[in-house]
């Protein structure tokens, strides 16, 4: 099992519903976020391109945050999900320094927090909160080891990219372009 998220940038409108869904589902304190939306504009009027992306922890196969964690609080569970155990985290910040995506933050309670792919919802057979609320249905979630999953099929069919592949982290959040 290898969980992955596939996000269609051609459909995303940047409404940020995914962000609010995550904040409320995971009780993320106001002022913090586990996912966020970026806009990149290139070109000169009127020859322009615009890309909107909902970003989060990439749950990398080669996760630098897990490697540099001195206590093992950051670890990888079944399906390749990178999680943090709050009570094992000393708050040294090494994992935050190590993440090329700036996907982690220090929770006001001290430990380091980040996207869990809504692990608690997956266990109940539900989709991550962000995916479940997206009004444009531009987010897909599933198992890359299953060739018949929607995510596998989309990646087979559509042109896609990952973020900062040159960082060598082997991310598991894909963007259809």
């Amino acid at each position: 099992m290898r969980y992955a998220m596939v996000i269609d940038t051609l459909k995303c409108v940047g409404c940020s519903d995914c962000v609010v869904a995550c904040q409320t589902e995971n009780s993320v304190p106001v002022g913090y976020c586990r996912d966020w939306v970026t806009e990149s504009v290139s070109g000169t009027y009127p020859t322009l391109e615009l890309e909107l992306k909902s970003e989060r922890c990439n749950h990398c196969d080669n996760a630098p945050c897990v490697r540099c964690c001195p206590t093992g609080a950051s670890h990888i569970v079944k399906g390749g999900i990178v999680l943090v155990i709050g009570d094992e985290c000393i708050g040294c910040g090494a994992c935050i320094e190590s993440c090329p995506y700036d996907a982690r933050y220090q929770h006001p309670d001290g430990y380091v927090d980040k996207c869990t792919f809504c692990h608690h919802r997956l266990e109940k057979g539900q989709l991550p909160a962000c995916v479940s609320v997206c009004p444009t249905k531009c987010m897909y979630f599933g198992d890359l080891d299953d060739p018949n999953s929607e995510v596998s099929k989309l990646l087979k069919r559509r042109k896609h990219k990952t973020l900062a592949p040159e960082a060598g982290t082997k991310p598991n959040v894909y963007y259809l372009i």
Binding site: C33, V37, S42, P64, R67, C68, I90, E97, Y111
Partner: protein, 314 residues
């Protein structure tokens, strides 16, 4: 071609946006004190192994009061910068070979007590007026004194690991292009040894000891300058993110600090002064020594702060 890259969901996380500020001054101080302690312990151990304790009393005896204090303060600084400090003990429930932070925690756990024991082995000589009141303490001091050479054998690798660790802690982060180069370990080790030598120079009472450490320090400064040139050259030949990182040092907000305080005042000027002293002119050694210590401290501050600004662009 215009480019715009913005967060539209209002992301503004404390200490992360717009630039990372996760590690603050305590970490810089910790890296400096760790390097200084490692340098002092290294020289004490080497002199002891070579059996030249009598010739260089400052190195093996007086200056070694500093490492236990430096390492303890360093550890305190580190814990001060943790955001979940009540869980610090979790560091010692596991050994994680891939995590420099884990290495550092364990090396310090061994080295810091050893540095205390080292000082204790010289207790009667260092503090002749304050006699130990308990017999078992006297016996313990005797035991340590006998095993001083064994401690020295252990301290040589430990201090080198500690010195390199202060650099590798930063260089292990691929995500921060300024840090992510192999030179940082040797550079911080050299700088640590150099600050150690400078401290001995500052405290040394005999011309012989002063001269030896002037020479050692001069050599270390030359190596350190070489490593800095090497670091900048490799960044100059690197990818876009590394070029941007380099720009911070050679043509950005850290240029004055880096070239002014680290390279010129912290390395070149003391090198000239020490060279002048070695060839026989009278130079107050305190001047180059203090400049080197300040330069070493500034180097840590510059690298820790500037490194956190650099990142991957995507």
């Amino acid at each position: 071609m215009q480019q715009e890259e913005i967060f539209i969901s209002g992301r503004n996380i404390p200490h992360i946006d717009p630039t990372l500020e996760i590690w603050h001054w305590p970490i810089s101080l910790y890296l400096f004190l760790g390097g200084l302690g490692a340098g002092l312990l290294f020289f004490a151990a080497i002199i002891t192994v070579l059996g030249k304790e009598e010739d260089y009393p400052t190195t093996v005896k007086y200056a070694t009061i500093i490492p236990p204090i430096a390492l303890s303060l360093g550890l305190l600084a580190l814990v001060y910068d943790l955001t979940h400090p009540l869980y610090t003990w979790q560091l010692y429930t596991t050994i994680r070979l891939e995590s420099p932070m884990s290495w550092g925690a364990w090396v310090l756990l061994v080295t810091t007590p050893l540095s205390f024991l080292w000082v204790f082995s010289y207790y009667s000589e260092l503090f002749p007026k304050w006699k130990l009141k308990f017999n078992f303490l006297n016996n313990f001091e005797k035991l340590l004194k006998k095993n001083r050479k064994n401690m020295a054998y252990a301290l040589i690798p430990l201090s080198i690991i500690l010195g390199i660790y202060t650099g590798i802690l930063l260089s292990a982060f691929n995500a921060r292009p300024l840090w992510n180069n192999a030179i940082l370990g040797p550079l911080f080790l050299t700088s640590g040894l150099s600050t150690g030598a400078a401290t001995i120079l500052l405290l040394a009472k005999t011309t012989k000891e002063r001269h030896l450490f002037s020479k050692i320090d001069l050599l270390l400064i030359i190596i350190e300058l070489g490593l800095i040139i090497h670091m900048i050259m490799s960044m100059a030949a690197g990818s876009e993110v590394q070029l941007e990182a380099m720009q911070l040092l050679i043509g950005g907000e850290f240029t004055l600090m880096f070239f002014g305080f680290v390279v010129i005042l912290g390395l070149i000027v003391p090198a000239i002064l020490e060279f002048t002293e070695i060839i026989g002119y009278k130079v107050p050694v305190a001047v180059p020594a203090i400049l080197i210590l300040i330069g070493g401290l500034v180097l840590r501050f510059v690298m820790v702060e500037a490194g956190q600004i650099t990142r991957y662009l995507y």
